[in-house]
Amino acid sequence: MDAVIRTEGVSKVFNAGLADEVRAVTGVSIEIRRGQITVLKGPSGSGKTTLLGLIGCMARPTEGKILVEGRDVAKLPERFLTSVRRQTFGFIFQQFNLIRGMTVRENVMLPLYPTDIDGRQMVRRMEEILEKLELSSKRGVKVGKLSGGQQQRVAIARALINEPAVLLADEPTAHLDTKLSEDLLNIITTLNMDGKTIVIATHDPLIYDKPYIDNIIEMRDGTVREASLL
Amino acid sequence: MSKTKIFAAFIAIEAAVLAVLYISSANCVHCKDNEMSLKRAMVRAMRLTDAAFWTEARYTRHPSQADFFAAFQDFPSSPDHFPAGSIVPPAGQR
């Protein structure tokens, strides 16, 4: 099967050479397949968030290769890394990471601000996504005034604005109750059916026990303990 | 783009005000050329050698003609070449 991302022996060491050196990820080789939902499962501190960051070109590995669409990004200079990140990935963070004090529409369009996209096209895209996520009525509201579930959806909308092929989510249900978590999973499966590749890092059984999860990669102490590729 | 427009307008207005002020200052200096030449004629005719800014002591009225030790003549504890500039008047005055 076609792999969007492949890692080969990837390691990440923080504070290398210092007393507080941390080996967050060691020798990980995995594949993320196109159009599938992959879950990185493991307890906190197992390195799944770090791995997600590496896959999403947020940081560079200390060792190993990361191939995005067959191209090794581990050694790319920062400018190219940013453009790969912008074109390929959408991120959903555990903390939502919205800009407080700004409206929903501004937050959603923010990733496109420095790009050359036409203003009207940008707004059109934003409106479409808000429509899809049932946020249209909230477009002028400051994000600080929204509930946790709504903020989560704004974060998803922002992740989708640059039409990424891959959606990366880090503990997306950490701040949501069961009902909202189910809603979120519905959104994610819908997006998956639209053709998005999805990677979720989580230790929430609500997610990884779902039957429609295609792959589960279990991590522990920075290494892959078990990968069940279906 | 609304905020950019507001900001650009604000800066443009300020720049315009400054430009107008600058032009008007040059203009004002220019229109006072006549007054200035009258004053210069006055300096020439009266053989004036100093401006009448600080008249509180003779070494301040004509600083250019003061003796080398002048600062000690009229106000021995003067901390300033122009006693008026010291804000606090010498003891006994007023």
């Binding site: - | 783009m1 004002c28 210069r40 006055m42 004036l48 050698t49 008249t55 509180e56 600083p63 007023r94």
Partner: protein
């Protein structure tokens, strides 16, 4: 270019989001610029006007010295002086100081001579006979007298004089005439009890201005007890005075400048967690380092540029429309007779540029530099 426009827009909304903070920064910044440029404007305007006027003062003033002090000069020197090569017209000046205990002010008394006949900035006329005088605006105001009024001056029982005011120097010449009382030569000599054939000093014209110092040297050789004061010494003195005076006032505001510098330094040495987080988010959602720095540049530039312009406008209006009302007390001190502040609007563009480079640029740098570090670090920090 579209992208840049939107980043600027975003920079402005970021500023608007921290309205209170940025507004107070802008207010302080504008105030500082207003104070600094008021001082620069005022000093420059006065300096320029004074120096221009002094261009027309006599080439050489010759003083007689006795015991190292200024003494009256014998009028007969003029004959000898006229024999010195290069010396043009030499003529005596009769003038002196009068301390008026009534108003605690010093006046300058000066004798009329026929050269003063055609002076324009005078209401009325020059004194023609004993018992008449023309006075400066400052004198008239402080003594509360006008045309046709009498003014009484005394130096003791023997020396006193009552003068009728027949001329008033106009207000716009106050920079030159504020403390003057012009009276006839005979009245002056009598009032000051000056010996006959003595003058206060002698002014000398020089045929070739480039030979002034040579002429001065010759005069000194002829009259070893004399002190020639050259016009360019005069001008240099005034140049120094104004620079020095402006410097003193600037020093008084040193506290304000220091406070502002500390503030800029504080901004420069650390950005707060919220700003760092925001930079991380922007990076994580696909902004490049350059975009983030561009954003920070505009945040700094917007605040400092608008404050700079505002400060300049305030300073101009303050100095040239309100006659430097807030600064005047500092320059005046306890001076009794100070000419009314109506500076001619001479502007030095160079000074404005210097001020720009010393305030706006450091501020912009202080906005951009600390963000640099946050912007070049890997954005995955927002995930932790």
């Amino acid at each position: 270019m579209r992208g840049h426009g939107r980043v600027i827009e975003y920079a402005l909304s970021t500023l608007a989001r921290r309205k209170f903070k940025n507004f107070s920064v802008a207010a302080v910044f504008s105030f500082l610029i207003a104070v600094l440029s008021s001082i620069l404007f005022l000093t420059h305007a006065y300096k320029t006007e004074t120096l221009k006027l002094l261009e027309d003062s006599p080439e050489i003033i010759l003083q007689n010295m006795s015991g190292g002090r200024h003494e009256l000069i014998p009028v007969e020197y003029i004959t000898t002086l006229s024999g010195i090569a290069g010396v043009g017209k030499a003529s005596p000046r009769y003038w002196g100081y009068y301390y008026d205990s009534l108003t605690s002010a010093n006046y300058t008394l000066m004798a009329y001579d026929e050269n003063m006949q055609d002076i324009k900035l005078l209401q009325g006329r020059m004194p023609a006979s004993e018992g008449e005088c023309a006075v400066g605006k400052g004198v008239a105001d402080i003594r509360q007298v006008g045309m046709k009024d009498d003014i009484f001056l005394t130096l003791g029982t023997e020396q006193n004089v009552t003068l009728k005011i027949v001329g008033l120097f106009s207000a716009n010449s106050a920079i030159l005439t504020n403390d003057l009382i012009i009276l006839t030569k005979d009245s002056l000599i009598k009032f000051f009890n000056m010996p006959a054939d003595m003058a206060t000093d002698i002014t000398i014209e020089v045929n070739n201005p480039s030979e002034v110092s040579t002429v001065a040297r010759k005069i000194r050789r002829t009259f070893p007890n004399s002190r020639p004061i050259l016009k360019n010494e005069l001008i240099r003195t005034y140049d120094n005075i104004f620079n020095w005076r402006g410097g003193i006032v600037l020093t008084m505001f040193f506290g304000a400048i220091a406070a502002f510098m500390i503030f800029v330094w504080d901004k420069a040495t650390g950005i707060n967690a919220e700003e760092r987080q925001e930079i991380g988010i922007l990076k994580a959602i696909g902004w490049e380092t350059a975009d983030v720095l561009y954003l920070k540049f505009w945040e700094g530039a917007a605040v400092s540029l608008s404050s700079f312009f505002t400060g300049l406008i305030l300073a101009y209006v303050h100095v040239f429309y309100f006659n430097a009302q807030f600064l005047a007390p500092v320059l005046k001190g306890w001076s009794v007779l100070f000419p009314k502040f109506e500076p001619m609007p001479y502007i030095d563009i160079y000074q404005i540029f210097v001020l720009f480079f010393l305030t706006v640029l450091p501020y912009v740098a202080a906005s951009v530099v600390p963000s640099w570090k946050a912007a070049i670090s890997d954005p995955d920090s927002v995930m932790r």
